[in-house]
């Protein structure tokens, strides 16, 4: 059962770049070894935290999208927990949300195609209806 997940984690701000790269490649290898695949890795950069986490006021945010079974997430989270520079992480399942969004998009596109024609007609109709209505009072007075 393949599912899509989004893993966001924060590493301490004083971490060196090469250490960070090493950490990321490490995580990638754990994902692939657990029969999962990595879709993307996004280094979102340093950001001020909304509250203090392990005595840090800022952190480096990293976002990964992963595909695989729940065991992948289980293993990843276990790893993150024991990795000292990672101060916080959050895993969110995203496949159902993506499905929902696609459905909405499809619906909207279908609506657009249908409504494109009647909308043009409907715009003309009141304009045509207005002119005789304006004529009526003038005629009566």
């Amino acid at each position: 059962m393949n599912r899509a997940y989004e893993l966001m984690f924060i590493v301490r701000p004083d971490m060196a770049d090469e250490d960070l790269e090493k950490l990321i490649s490490n995580l990638e290898s754990t994902v692939t070894s657990a029969a999962g695949s990595i879709k993307s890795v996004d280094r979102m950069g340093k950001r001020r935290l909304a509250y203090m986490v392990r005595k840090f006021r800022e952190g480096v945010y990293i976002l990964m999208t992963i595909e695989g079974a729940g065991t992948v997430v289980h293993e990843l989270e276990r790893r993150l927990r024991v990795t000292e520079p990672v101060i916080k992480f959050l895993t969110v399942r995203i496949d159902e949300e993506q499905k929902r969004l696609e459905k909405i998009k499809k619906l909207r596109d279908a609506k657009k195609k249908v409504s494109a024609m009647p909308a043009a007609v409907a715009e003309e109709a009141p304009a045509a209806g207005e002119t005789p209505a304006a004529d009526v009072p003038a005629a009566t007075v």
Partner: protein, 124 residues
């Protein structure tokens, strides 16, 4: 009764009032009266004078702007629905519709978890 015969159809329902009289109670506009009326058009909007307080109807931001995806990463949007104290603003104040408020609340809680939004107080 003689006036009724002059103006054929529309005045037939209320025969008692003469044409020149203007009642304050917002009588409906008459058609076909030559000099008496003074109302501009048929179909003009009936004025309602009594209402003093106009409350602007609140609309759901996510419905009007067609934002389908309420995501925890989008903390700027979420921040609009969080009070200074860090609380989620109830929808009776913001006007967000019920299904969107559900998603919004879930997203805010996720954002809090990953330190994008504060649990309490302002973002430090």
């Amino acid at each position: 009764m003689t006036e009724e015969t002059k103006a054929p159809a529309p005045a037939a329902e209320r025969p008692s009032r003469p044409f020149g009289e203007r009642s304050s109670g917002g009588d409906r506009p008459r058609f076909g009266s030559g000099g008496g009326g003074g109302r501009s058009g048929p179909g003009g909007p009936p004025r309602e004078g009594g209402r003093k307080f106009f409350r602007r109807k609140k609309v759901c931001k996510f419905c009007t702007e067609k934002i389908a995806d309420i995501n925890y990463k989008d903390y700027r949007t979420l921040g609009q629905f969080v009070a200074e104290s860090g609380k989620i603003v109830p929808r009776r104040l913001t006007g967000v519709c019920s299904p969107h408020q559900h998603r919004l609340a879930a997203a805010i809680k996720q954002a809090r978890n990953i330190a994008l939004l504060p649990f309490a107080g302002r973002a430090s």
